[in-house]
Each structure stands twice: as C-alpha cells, then as structure tokens.
C-alpha cells in the first residue's frame, strides 16, 4: 500500500503538467507541448504502477491501433492532394511547407481560434450520433446561440464571471430550445431530423438579420445594421494575453472551455446513466425500449443537448472573438462539425484533436495563399479526401481483398 501515496502524487503531477501544458500550448507557447508529453509519459508510468507493465502495454497498443487508420488516411490524402496540385500546376512542396508552417507555427493562434467553435459543433454532432441521430443542422443552433449571447451580452451587467456563466447557460438553453422542434417532430411523427434540422438551420440563418437589425446601428437614422452593437466589455471572455503577455491578442480562453466541455461530454457519455441510455437507444432502439428505456425521452435529451452544445459554439464566438454578431457569417461550422465528429468516430476527446487539425488546415491554407498565392481551396479538397478515406475505413480491406484475390488468381494461373 505504499503505492497509494505514489499514485496520488502521480495523478497530481499528471493533471498539473497536463493542464498547464494545455493552457500554455493553446496560448501559443510551444513548450506547453513538452509538458503535455511529460504528462503522457507519467500516465504511462502510472499505468505500470497501477496495473503492471502488461496493462500499460495493452493500453498503448490499443491506442496506437486506434490511430493507424486516421494516420494512413491523412497521409494518403496529403499525397493525393499533392498529386492534384502537381496536376494543376502548383508545387506541392512549397504549398505544404507554407500550409504546415502557417497552420501549426506561424498562425497557430488562428488554428486554435478556428478550432473553438468546431469543437462545440463537433461535440454536438457526435453526441447526437451516439444516440443514432444526425444533427446536421448544427449551424442553425449556432446562430440561435450567437443571437441569444449577443442579446444578453449587450444587456447583462452583473459581476463579470456571473453574467458570463449566465450567458453560457441561457444562450445554450435557447439553442437547445430551438432543437425542441425537430426533437418533438421526431418523437411524435418520426420526421427525419436530417431534413428538419437542416431546414431549421436555413431558417435560423435567415432570421438572424432581423435580430441584427434590431440590435445594432442607430435605429433613428438607419435600419441596415449588418452587425450588432458590441457586447459589454465585462462580458468578454478573458484573453490569454492578460496572463501570458506573449500570447496573441485575440486568443481567448474559449479553447479551454471547449476542452473542458469535451471532457465533460465524454464523462456524460461513458460514465453516467444518461450517457448509457443515450448510447443504448442509439445502438439498438428496440432492445432499449424492451428494457424500459424511453426512446422519446432520450431522443429529446440527445437533440436538446446537441442543440445546447452547438449553441455554446455561438456563445464562444460572440463572447470570445467577435464581441458582436455579424450578418452573413457564412461560417460553415455545421458542416465542419460533421467532419470533425466523423473523423473522431464520435469520441468527444477525439473531437478536440480533429477540430484543431481542421482549424490548422484552414489557418495554414490562408497563410499559404497569402504568401504563395496558391489557392487555399486546395485545402478543402485535402479535407474532403481525408474525411472520405478515414470514414470509409473499409476501403483498405476492400482493396486489400481485391489485391489478394488477384494475387491468388495469378498463383493459380502459374500452377
């Protein structure tokens, strides 16, 4: 039992270096990465202490096994993207150098900023997927969340932390409420959520200008505000630069909130009754029902919580980055949220990484265009290919089978 103290010490160390590492890293301090790596090594050590070296080995192996399809997919997509660039007259070496330098080094802060809303919409879509539902209209809930956050942000003047928390809760709830419509329709009439949430996304998008006009500009002289008034400064999310002066001035703590929420969603899904029921309904409705789990209730929970999470994406953009709401955002957080959720196989923790990857590809793509004038849209293709290759993971066994068949045939022919 002398192990016990060692274990506690290890946990504290892991958590401390992990959290500090993450904070520093996302605030664009690269040695944060070292701390994160240290935390991982410590965790490995902790596993050895706890369950013997074998368990740690199994854990590491299964982790690596989980990673290899994404890694192959990304590598293949990069290769294919390079071929496409070659075919269309660009130098892929120059392009990728700029892309990675821009996305992961020079403009890392933009990658992080891009990732924040994606983590939320990705979580939203992943959570709904776990319940067997496809929240394809996350973008709409994002708009609702943004509107509610802006409305409150302009008006709420309580002590800072309190009103920020209130805004998070209320605006998230508003977005959740928006998803009541598809949820109820799904439960009562079976209307497919792919169509209903999608249509409601369009609706929310078109309604936002009305809201913006009502909350911006000087109503006496004009009715054409395309942007709302700024929210109160007390309602801004804190910036990293206040604590860590070298950090980029736009980088706000939304990324930490996002990571925390991702961990929370993971906990809900795999450690609580709600998550258990949601997954049960998602994986086998009939069995869940026969064992007394209410399908309707869990559809409601899943879609509402998904709406809440997408709403938080909007809250973060408003409170952290824009401090107001624009018309015609053209944000595409809904579609990209689908990508990151699928890439992460609907695992909330995975969503963090896939979102950062996506954000970095975008940021790097812009950097690439600015410096080399190679069109950033190549990134869209690379993203599409990555997605296809990872999601269609049977593609490897499919071609593997084809190959082995041919080989067999050849051998037979030779015989």
């Amino acid at each position: 039992m002398q192990n016990k103290n060692l274990k506690i010490a290890l946990i504290v160390l892991i958590l401390a270096s992990g959290i500090i590492g993450i904070v520093l890293y996302v605030a664009a301090y690269f040695f944060g990465l070292l701390l994160i790596a240290a935390a991982l090594v410590l965790y490995y050590f902790y596993k050895r202490v706890g369950e013997g070296s074998e368990a740690a080995g199994v854990w590491a192996k299964s982790f690596i096994k989980k990673l290899y399809i994404p890694v192959i997919g990304i590598a293949a997509a990069i290769l294919l993207g390079g071929l496409i660039m070659l075919a269309t007259g660009y130098n892929p070496v120059i392009a990728y150098k700029a892309l990675f330098y821009g996305g992961f080094v020079k403009n890392w802060h933009i990658s992080v900023l891009n990732a924040v809303p994606l983590i939320f919409t990705g979580l939203s879509i992943a959570f709904a997927f776990q319940a067997g539902l496809f929240n394809i209209g996350a973008e709409g809930q994002f708009y609702i969340g943004s509107m509610a956050a802006t409305w409150l942000g302009i008006r709420l003047g309580m002590p800072p932390v309190l009103s920020i928390i209130l805004i998070f809760v209320i605006a998230g709830a508003a977005a959740a409420a928006y998803n009541i419509i598809p949820a109820v329709l799904k439960v009562k009439t079976g209307a497919h959520e792919v169509i209903t949430t999608m249509m409601l996304a369009h609706t929310a998008k078109f309604l936002s200008p009305i809201f913006i006009r009502g909350n911006g500009g000087d109503p006496a002289t004009s009715s054409h505000a395309y942007v709302t008034d700024a929210i109160r400064e007390t309602n801004f999310l804190p910036f990293f630069k206040d604590l860590l002066p070298k950090s980029n001035y736009r980088l706000h703590i939304g990324i930490l909130i996002a990571i925390a929420v991702a961990v929370f969603v993971y906990y809900i899904l795999f450690y609580t009754r709600i998550g258990y029921e949601v997954r049960a309904v998602g994986q086998n409705k009939n069995a869940a029902r026969a064992q007394g789990i209410s399908i309707g209730k869990n559809i409601m929970i899943a879609l509402l919580f998904a709406g809440f999470l997408s709403g938080l994406a909007g809250v973060n953009q408003v409170l952290g980055l824009d401090h107001k709401m624009f018309e015609n955002l053209n944000a595409g957080y809904g579609w990209n949220g689908i990508s990151v959720a699928l890439l992460a196989a609907n695992n909330p923790i995975g969503v963090i990484f896939t979102s950062i990857l996506w954000g970095a590809l975008d940021a790097g793509g812009q950097y690439m265009t600015r410096t080399t004038q190679i069109p950033a849209s190549i990134v869209e293709i690379v993203k599409g290919i990555i997605l296809f290759l990872i999601v269609a993971k049977y593609i490897y066994s499919f071609f593997g089978r084809k190959l082995s068949k041919r080989r067999k045939k050849n051998i037979r022919r030779e015989a």
Binding site: Y271, T272, R273, I274, Y276, E277, R279, A280, Q283, N284, N286, A287, A288, R289, A290, Q291, G292, I293, S294
Partner: protein, 518 residues
Amino acid sequence: MSAIPGGNVVLEMRNIVKQFPKVLANNNINIKLYEGEILSLLGENGAGKSTLMNVLYGLYKPTSGEILLDGKEVVFSSPKDAISKGLGMVHQHFMLVGNLTVTENIILGSEPGRGGLIDYKTAREEVRKLSKKYKLQVDPDEIIDNLGVGLQQRVEILKALYRKANVLILDEPTAVLTPQEVDELFEVIKTLVATGVSVIIITHKLEEVKELSDRTYILRRGEVSGECNTADVTKAELANLMVGRDVVLTVVKTGKNSDKPPVLKIRNLNVKDDKNLLAVKNLNLDIKPGEIVGIAGVDGNGQTELAEAIRSLRKVESGVIEFKGENITHLKTKELIERKMAYVPADRHRFGLILSMTVAENSVLGYHDKVPAINSAHGFKMNLGRIATASEALVRQFDIRTPGVQVPAGNLSGGNQQKVILARELSREPEFLLVTQPTRGLDVGAIEYIHSQILKIRDKGVAILLLSLELEEIFALSDRIEVMFEGKLVQEFLPEETDEKEVGLYMTGGKGGVSDAE
C-alpha cells in the same frame, strides 16, 4: 416411394468446405442426389445445413470442394447459374418481396417480355397455368403481404417451378406451417417427385424425415455424421446421429401446480397489431406463482402482440392487466421492471441485447438505473467497477463462454448471448417472467440448459408465461397449455392429458372457438 439406389446421380457435392470468418460451417461434406428421390438433410440448429444448400445454390462460394451436375463439374458464381442448371430453392426465410404481387414475385429475374419491358399478360397466364398444373392455387394479382404463410410458401414453390427446376431444395419448409398445411405440402412434394423432380428437404423434425424421405444425410457440427436409407433406421437412431449422444427427449418436471392465488390476471384484453387490426381479442388469463403457462399457437396469431402488451411495449386497446392486485395495464415498461417483472424476448439481437455494447453493459440493461449499477438510488454516475464485478459473477454462474466481460456482446455465439439475457433477467429475482421463444436457433445442449434454468425459477415460485412456436418446448415446460388462435385463447389443456396432434388441431382452428359468435 422407394429409394432408387443405382439410379442416375443428378447431383453430387464433393469435399465441400465452407469457412466463415469465425465458423467452419461445412467441413469436407460429400453428398449425392439421385434422380427422382426425396433426400432429407437432418441436423440440429447450426449444423451447417442451410450453408451447404446455399453453397449448392450459388449464393455462397465454397472455400473448397466441387459440385457435379450429371457427372460434370459446375461452378456457380451466383444463383443465376444454379437456376439456369435447373436448381430451385425455397429458403428457410421466405424470399418474397412483400409489396409486390404474386406474379411479380414469381417472374422476378426471369420476366417474360422484350426490350426491358415486362409482358404482364403472358406472365399472369403462365402463373395461372403453373398453379393449375401443380394444383397450387394462388391469386396471381394478390399482394404478398396480404397472404398467409401457407400461401406464401406456395408462391415460393411456384417460383422455383416457374424457373423449371428439376432439383428442388426446401429449407425447413414446415417450420412455420400448421400440421394440416404440412400434410398439404407433402402431397405437393409427392406429386412433384412423380413428375421427375428430385427434392432435397432440410428439417430437424424426425417424423417428417421418416414420413417423406427416401434417404437421409445427417449433419453434425459441419460434418456428415451419417447417411442412410430412411426406412432402415429408427427415430432414436436418427436423433443419436444428429446430436452425437443419447438425447433425453423430454425434460423431467418435478413439483406440482401451486394453489396460491394468481399473481398475473388478464381480463378482456384487446390489442391491435401494426396494421391496426385487432390481434388479441378479449383475452383472459391467470398465472399463479410457481406455474408455467405455455401459449401454443402458429406464428402470427397474436402472440407477439400479447407479449408486447404485457411488457407495455404496445398500446392496450381495452381490458385490464393486473399484477399482484395492482392494475398495471398502463404502466411503463420501466415501472414493470421495478415491480420485478422480467422479460426474455424472442429476438435476442433485436430486443434482447445491444450487440455493440459490452457483456458487462448488457448485463445491467434495464437495471442500469438501480443500485448497484449506479452509485445511489437517484444516481447519475454509473458504477462501472461494480457492474464489471457483478457481470463477471454472472458469467461464472451461468457458464457464459466469453473472453471477458468487456467484449461486445456481438462477439458471443447465439447460445451464449441468450445466456447473457437469461442471466440478466433471472439474477434479479423476478416474481414474474415473460419468456418468448427462449431457445430459437440454439442447439440441444443450450436448450437443455435454458429449460432447466426456467424450471428452476418456477420451482422457486416465479409465475412464468411462456410463448413458443415449438410445441415440443411448450410440452416440455408448461404446467398448463393455452392454445391461441386468431387472437383468442381457444382451449386449455393439461400437458399430460393431451398430445401434439390434438393441440395442433386447435392451433389451426380445426376445433374450438373459430367462429366469432359473440
């Protein structure tokens, strides 16, 4: 109907091996079919009978081995090739497209007409001619979904005949038929044979083998364990070959009916089916503690709806269900579970388990919101550690063969999956057990184990309602048999005072409350 040894061999399968990813379904099988004979393939569930025939029919590709037709080797790369060589197959599960007409189903894939168009007139004519010729009456324009199983089977046979099959494979054709329909089918088979068709029939019913076939192959665990002229062997010998040991064909029940007052009372129950028609009509039933009531009936006579109504998975139109004096008609499934009412559903994959979840997670399904699965009575956080320990105990107690409790339930074999369900339901000390088709698709060993477990809790005083399509099972377990026909309980029997023939007669409406007199 005598065997024709030394006649022409129309078909031969040599050294057939079929390996599925995890199962060696056929291991080096050799069979021969002579012209004009009825050959039966006998074997317990999972022995590899269907697989073998699907290989023959070109649906599966054999891992190795060859098929000879009239002495020449043939390779079937799809059923199309097999059909063109004169093979016809009626599958274990009907291969009929429900929303198409009889004619469309029969001609599907070999439609008359030119240039991609279907000549419906000719098609209908041909179907009429065929059904007249073989005395298989069906309405060519009826939609399949509107037909009963007996008629659907006729369509299946017509489908094969339309394709001019001279070798007809019938995979468990009698499983869903009433005894009377079985007799009719056998007549049809005999007329077919008289016109020169050779027939392979799969079954695991010994009487049918004896009654119909000339020769028999017995399959066991993917291998041929015996081959004989049917006339030369007894049923007991066949059974022995089938399972590889002497089988006790009836389980011995001990104890007697309890005389306590009933715990479950059903009064004037009416339930509708998916088509919004009354499927359960004015049903009354009592079950006492320590009693097993078996409901016998042909599939589709309202058993599913009854079970679902009791489990509160289906709306009750009218009537009352009472449990221990409490009206539970409109309670939720969850509340039934809280009242210690357990349920073993018929279709374990669809209703019993969540295949992608682990054995441990499955072992608390339905009880996941009760201590000790969660930390407290109104708990939120699941107690994963305790769930794992408890399910490990169940695995040991119920002899569930699994590599561990943290593997997906889908990785287990059918029998072991069923054991997971049984373990989950029985370990909760239920006071009532609704059990439907508990042994479907399982082998004899597993069946025996499950039957003994059901009897064990009966002896502990649990009231049990058993719904099964297997009359044998009903007879083996029930203290009291109720026959269900067209949504009603038409007759009650004590198992020792009746036999399968008599019950079968009631099941098919041959006797009892057929007319809707009221």
